[in-house]
Subunit: 251 residues, 2 copies
Amino acid sequence: MDRRKLIKFVAGTVAGSCVIGTSRYVAASEESEPAGKFGDGAVVLFQGDSITDAGRDKKNRADRPNDARALGDGYPFVIAGQLLRQHPTKKLKFFNRGSSGNKVPDLQKRWKKDCIEMKPDVLSILVGVNDIWHKMAGRYDGTVEDYRKGFSDLLEQTRAELPKVQLVICEPFALRCGAVEDSWFPEFDERRQVAADVAKDAGAIWVPFQKMFETAIEAGTDPQVWAADGVHPTLAGHALMAETWRQCVGV
Amino acid sequence: MDRRKLIKFVAGTVAGSCVIGTSRYVAASEESEPAGKFGDGAVVLFQGDSITDAGRDKKNRADRPNDARALGDGYPFVIAGQLLRQHPTKKLKFFNRGSSGNKVPDLQKRWKKDCIEMKPDVLSILVGVNDIWHKMAGRYDGTVEDYRKGFSDLLEQTRAELPKVQLVICEPFALRCGAVEDSWFPEFDERRQVAADVAKDAGAIWVPFQKMFETAIEAGTDPQVWAADGVHPTLAGHALMAETWRQCVGV
């Protein structure tokens, strides 16, 4: 493995490709907390599917901020731990509302309760892999354009109801191993582009997870090291995602 | 809060006070992997009480290395994630065998199965708070000298059976809040000194958690930020422990 390449990648390349949208929502973004600095008492909410869910306790602890079980075993937990350690007096509040199996329409159904009413200051969303996975498995018939429309509508609604929220959109990813079939492509790449477009339009910070994993794999690591089934990250994968998320968000 | 003081603390002060024992076990230590470098395929085992256990799944997954649920929600999970990310081709194997409520005699009872037979290359132990807590609660009668003898015997046995193991001894800690009573002192301080003595005699790397937390509190943070009940770390506390552990072990 080319360790220098990997280290260089982790340290800088990915952060360099994080993009903060410069479209119609810039004004709103400028009013909100600048990236790199969460305000005192900021509420940070992670949304998405099983990758974000990561086995969190949904029944008993979901309403407790910064609770290890409520945050699951994935990148939200790792990010929360690092930021709570680094900013011990800021009273940051981290919540996870990722839910296994979710696609964009599932987020839309529970958005009022699981996002708007929680009044996040920072909202991170990772969604898209089930939108294609369930389609390929014959359990869903949403097109790429449905993904675009649904995701756009979700963010429009969010901007309308939470004008100051700092949006963070994470790139859906699929590594070529495990459950990820050739039949996913090129449609999955189109869906990744949709997520990037939607993020830009919404003035969101973009976290390029696909590029991150591909760079790590190009540096000489097996994809299974990062996600055994190509979709669900290992502990190493979640730790790498957390590091890149923090770099992109500037915290 | 004096953030500079805290940052300085996290970045260097504690690492500066990590001590690698220089006693009779130096020869054995020198034969083993040098601190700061885990060999390919190294088995890293965490042992201790509830602080290490951190809600791990003991039933179904304990034998799976690097499994998030099997590692629990504490510092072993955070350390494992960071090191697996940084060394993705080394095939490191992390296990957690911390068990809630354990004192030194409990570790002794299960040491053969839960340590020796696992043949760790790196063994990290954090034990001591239940040895005083259960005593103060009238459920145990072990003295400070019992703690010293039991802990010493445990490490003697370990060195005899695993001559090349890199030992890491973590300082037991108690923050002055929650369940921690004034009646614990000065006996708890004596027990901390015993752990330090035993670590030195065993040629172990020493991780000064009490000093770490005290420095963080002196820098202007509430003890509850790090351990709500004075004993069990919060997410922030575990993240801080993980950072200090890595600094002390040099990885």
